[in-house]
Amino acid sequence: MVNAAEHAEHTDHIVSPKIYVAIFFALMIGTILTVVAAFYNLGPWNIVVALGIATMKATLVVLFFMHAKYSPGRTKVVIIAAIFWLAIMLVLTLTDYETRGGQEVQLRSPAVPTLFHV
């Protein structure tokens, strides 16, 4: 069968409950950490810490609970594609919002002020 190679390993890698429990405790620690960190004023780093911890937790769930670590390469491509496309939407839209200020707009009609900042 042409597809044998593509989906051979997917079948039966059984993850041990020990790993599941270990991951669970890691997720608990992450949760506590993120709540504690929220009560400290880290300025602009608060959001970085919060999203960073969330991403680490999400990665653990994807790799171990969802078996992505033991899945064929194709699954990993699918996951990366989803993240990448979400990033396209967020980043490219933000380039509009972030680069707006500081443009001078000059109108020609004498009835209105001729120079103002956008």
């Binding site: 490219l92 509009d96 680069t99 443009q103």
Partner: protein
């Protein structure tokens, strides 16, 4: 005609409405998209009649707004987006890869019912007050101020999105896991590559318009403020979210048609396609780059100049893979043995009209020029050249090319060629004047215009009436041929491809024995099982009617 095939295998309305056979589902879609094509077409006719005089001949300004909105919604969401994938793709993809059906046949049927449900909501909206926001649903008009039936329409399009998503999901899984032995990725027909690319766009883009319309609907019903400036919301955010899908959506509409052309050209030039890898790769490139250009619809909204520069550059970039395809098709035609059967007429028409439509897209991608022609008839002409001159001609070409396979019958060739010619002439007469009108400054979505534009408008309406004849003719003779057409053999053209090794019409399970593929695609040399013989007559098997 074979004794048993998918059309006569079982009888009764339940065997059709509860079918899981991808070929029957394709025909269910054929009926429903044709219905919506009529709905959209009637609105188009009313628009063109109204615009015969500068002050508008037919309807009030408010009603005019509803006409162009409903024309757009019906055509884009309920005709163009499903057309080739749900009708031709559904029918052919399993057969082209040597499978018995798609990976998820029941989900395929569910897709059709979801499409119908969405359609019902939209038809309800059309008949209870209509829709006047433009198919683009810009806020806060759609979410706050419009007095038309926005909410049911938005629900309908939301629901319909899932039909698209499930179709794309089905195609991707099928193409990955259901290929017959020997059918490697690079032996796949380019039609399949095109639909793989389309499915990527459906999967990645459609959810975004779903959530956007959901948020706009919530805003309308519960008076929230996401996109309403009076409450601190941002209408430009709506546009970003809307176009993030709706630009790639235009690639959903054109990529399948390009896949069709890639099948027709080699067949009727009797020559292997030039640049198979380039055409396959360009489909994926269009799908990917197509997601990076959406804000070119927003150049005049006040978006950041730097962002506009980036999007303009990327919009020029996305034209490159399309051009690559046109070069490869042309190279395939060069020194080929051309026969001008109807599918070929549509394919040749596609290449010319898509070229014009695509190039004028570059005019619009140019920032300075766009200031002048944005929201004018130039834009209207540009996208109709691609959507009608391109996608619809691709769809009609596909219907004619695979009609013998779908029905087991040949359509009347002479009449079909006339119809194609009528359509081509009518199309150009309708839309070419609109380029001129737009450049001269006639705005789109206006119910009236300055008197000096009347001649061009009348030309456009005259063209539309001819175009209508070009559409009606196939509807008549294709239906006629189902009963009275000459019986086609398995491979009337003849063409390469697994589908031409099956009966016409095929068995329910497509193949008696799962094929083992050992040949490369578009190999027009010695293929006796397809009726292709080196030195044999290259004239098509069925001759002229």
């Amino acid at each position: 005609m074979p004794r048993e095939h998918y059309l006569n295998a079982t009888y009764g309305i339940r065997s059709w409405l509860l079918t899981t056979d991808h070929k029957r589902i394709a025909l269910l879609y054929l009926a429903s998209v044709t219905f919506f094509f009529f709905v959209g077409g009637i609105f188009a006719a009313m628009i063109r009649i109204h615009l015969l005089t500068p002050n508008g001949l037919l309807v009030s300004p408010e009603t005019y707004n509803k006409l162009f909105t409903m024309h757009g919604v019906a055509m884009i969401f309920f005709f163009l987006i499903p057309s080739i994938p749900a009708v031709i793709g559904n029918f052919l993809i399993p057969i082209m890869i040597g499978a018995k059906d798609l990976a998820f046949p029941k989900i395929n049927l569910l897709s059709w019912y979801i499409y119908l449900a969405g359609g019902c909501f939209v038809l309800y909206s059309f008949s209870t007050g209509g829709l006047d926001t433009g198919w683009t649903f810009y806020t806060p008009l759609s979410s706050v101020y419009s007095n038309s039936a926005v909410t049911p329409a938005v629900i309908g399009i939301f629901i319909n999105g899932f039909s698209s998503i499930l179709t794309g999901l089905n195609f991707i899984v099928t193409i990955h896991t259901m290929r017959a032995p020997g059918m490697t990725w690079f032996r796949l027909p380019l039609f399949v590559w095109a639909h793989y690319a389309v499915s990527l766009v459906m999967i990645l883009g459609t959810p975004v318009i779903a959530i956007t319309l959901l948020l706009a609907g919530l805003e309308r019903v519960f008076h929230l403020g996401f996109f309403n400036p009076a409450l601190g919301g941002d209408p430009i955010l709506f546009q970003h979210l809307f176009w993030f899908y709706s630009h790639p959506a235009v690639y959903i509409m054109i990529l399948p048609a390009m896949g069709v052309i890639s099948e027709i050209i080699p067949t009727f030039a009797r020559k292997e396609i030039v640049g198979y890898g380039f055409i396959a790769g360009s489909s994926i490139a269009i799908a990917v780059i197509g997601f990076l250009v959406w804000a070119h619809h927003m150049f005049v909204t006040g978006e950041s100049t730097y962002a506009a520069l980036a999007f303009s550059f990327l919009s020029y970039l996305v034209a490159v893979p399309s051009a690559v395809k046109v070069f490869n098709w042309s190279a395939t035609l060069y020194k080929g043995s051309i026969s001008f059967d109807t599918p070929m007429l549509y394919a040749l028409g596609f290449i010319g009209l898509f070229l014009i439509g695509g190039l004028t897209g570059l005019f619009l991608a140019c920032l300075g020029l766009d200031i002048h022609i944005h929201d004018t008839y130039f834009v209207v002409a540009h996208f109709h050249y691609i959507m009608v001159g391109g996608a619809v001609m691709g769809y009609l070409g596909a219907l004619h090319f695979w009609w013998p396979k779908i029905t087991g019958r040949l359509y009347p060739e002479f009449l079909a060629r006339i119809a194609a010619l009528v359509l081509f002439i009518g199309f150009n007469l309708t839309f070419f004047p609109q380029f001129i009108l737009g450049y001269l400054g006639m705005p789109r979505r206006y119910h009236n215009y300055p008197p000096e534009f009347q001649v061009l408008n009348v030309m456009s309406t005259a063209g539309a009436s001819i175009l209508a004849v070009g559409y009606l003719l196939p509807m008549v003779y294709l239906v006629w041929s189902m009963r009275y057409g000459k019986v086609a053999g398995p491979n009337p053209w003849p063409a390469t491809g697994l589908e031409w090794t099956t009966d016409s019409p095929p068995l329910t399970e497509n193949f008696r024995v799962t094929p083992e593929v050992t040949w490369e695609p578009y190999d027009f040399r010695n293929r006796p099982e397809l009726g292709l013989q080196v030195g044999a007559s290259l004239a098509p098997a069925h001759g002229d009617d």
